[in-house]
Symmetry: C2
Subunit: 262 residues, 2 copies
DNA sequence: ATCTATTGTGTCATATTTATACAATAAACT
DNA sequence: AGTTTATTGTATAAATATGACACAATAGAT
């Protein structure tokens, strides 16, 4: 049986990884004017979690994060930053309910060997990375432990494994702070977008309304946007311009910072 | 012999710690109008390194960082923040010269048991914490592996162990960025200080001159400073006021941010 | 009494931010 | 075809912040 064989293979591969460290990716997307997260749904029991993985014995931590992101989304070389390392002793038991449910299930069902169980359930220090991606470019794929890999709106998050809820909160804080000095918002949008799209995105991240005309002025002054043809929306009003962002200027600002705040 | 006995004890205690993770503290102080770092000098061979340590099996990572800081400085509950985790595969060999020198010495001298040597020289993922302290309140104490614990000016750093130079650079970046949205500079000064002291500190951190009267205006507007009596400096000029900073207002700004930049 | 270096404060010219106004316009409605 | 509607691009006035500089006050040296 393929399932059983690959399970065995997976259990063997564990030994090629650092035993007490993991990586969790908080992958942000933007859809329906809402921030969305790419989450995994566990096989055999109803729990959601962040896409994560282990670090190869000869693999840099950053490489591991890139690999994990690539495996789940099909995307390479997108915005991906380390943001915090979670090293509490009780992190695996943070979400008590989900934890006991999971443990009960696993021990009862004997999906994993006792050695694997031991490996999986011991103390882990996890390092969080956050990614900003254009959700339309992704092809979400579950990993070996999960049966679903879906975009979930930030405002309707399900119960999450362990401390993954906290990890997401911390990632959000970082995202909001960095929005003030890096032009990172653009990574979440498709190639061409209207000024309204961009503003709505900023509002979704910052969770507060921004003044339209001032927002437009500020963005244009960054000198990062290229204006294109108008977009006929079909609505009964003036058609907005489409914009794309200038890659070189963007790279420059990424390094130098934009030094403004909302 | 006490040295030998405590060495044995130390080697035994290693087993009570997580095997692949460490913590390094970048402890900033301010003396002679310069930023200073608290560094350790290794026993038996001429290498300096950051104060670091391992994480107890039942110890939160933050606890471990606090403990390490306390052990080296005697200080508790001061400004201490995690800033980055270094997980490259080659970090132990980054400073080639210092590394080979150290390895040669250690293998030749047989100070440690082969088991300890194995433990010490395998791949480690280290998490950096940075601390801001009033150096006058510290009582630097070497750890078990070192014979000196001294304040070293940032501008005359010696050759450092492994990637500790890079860790310091990253800590500095974080310090500079956070200076723009957190009132953290104050942690480095004694209780009472003049406006010039504060300005010189900011200049030391940012590595550029700031305009005196504008700096004063900006700081006073934060509404974080309490003005005290004048300080008779003995110099042939107008005596400056002493200031201290308001703890509550400071806590508020720490959480809210101050949203300005130089 | 005069001089010197530094301090506290004020001011002026420039940016930047906030709030608001208004003409332009794509499509719906009469 | 003319009118209406919602949204867009741009302008502007007032409030606020910033950078550069001026100047009187003053502790101690001369």
């Amino acid at each position: 049986m393929t399932e059983k064989k690959s399970l065995l293979q997976w259990e063997l591969s564990i030994a090629d990884h650092l035993p007490g460290n993991s990586i969790d990716c908080v992958i942000f997307g933007y859809k329906n004017q809402e921030l969305q997260l790419l989450l995994l749904h566990w096989k055999h029991h109803d729990t959601w979690s962040l896409p994560g993985g282990f670090i190869g014995i000869n693999e840099d931590m950053d490489e591991a994060a890139n690999r994990i992101l690539l495996e789940r989304t099909g995307l390479d070389s997108v915005f991906l930053n380390q943001f915090y390392t979670f090293g509490g002793t009780k992190r695996s038991k943070m979400n008590e309910a989900a934890y006991t449910k999971r443990m009960e299930f696993l021990t009862k069902s004997k999906i994993y060997s006792s050695k694997t169980m031991e490996w999986l359930t011991k103390r882990f220090i996890t390092t969080g990375y956050f990614a900003l991606v254009d959700h339309e470019k992704t092809t979400p794929k579950p990993d070996f432990l999960s049966d679903k890999c879906d975009w979930i709106a930030l405002h309707s998050l399900p119960e999450l494994l362990m401390d993954h809820g906290e990890i997401i909160q911390k990632a959000l804080e970082h995202l909001r702070v960095r929005l003030n000095y890096l032009p990172i918002g653009f990574s979440l949008l498709p190639k061409k977008f209207t000024m309204q799209d961009l503003q709505k995105l900023y509002e979704a991240i910052l969770q507060r309304p921004l003044e339209r005309s001032n927002f437009q002025r500020k963005m244009l002054k960054l000198d990062i946007l290229t204006r294109h043809e108008k977009q006929m929306t079909g609505a009964a009003n003036k058609a907005p311009f489409l914009y794309s962002f200038n890659k070189e200027r963007y790279e420059l600002l990424l390094r130098k910072g934009i030094g403004f705040s909302f």
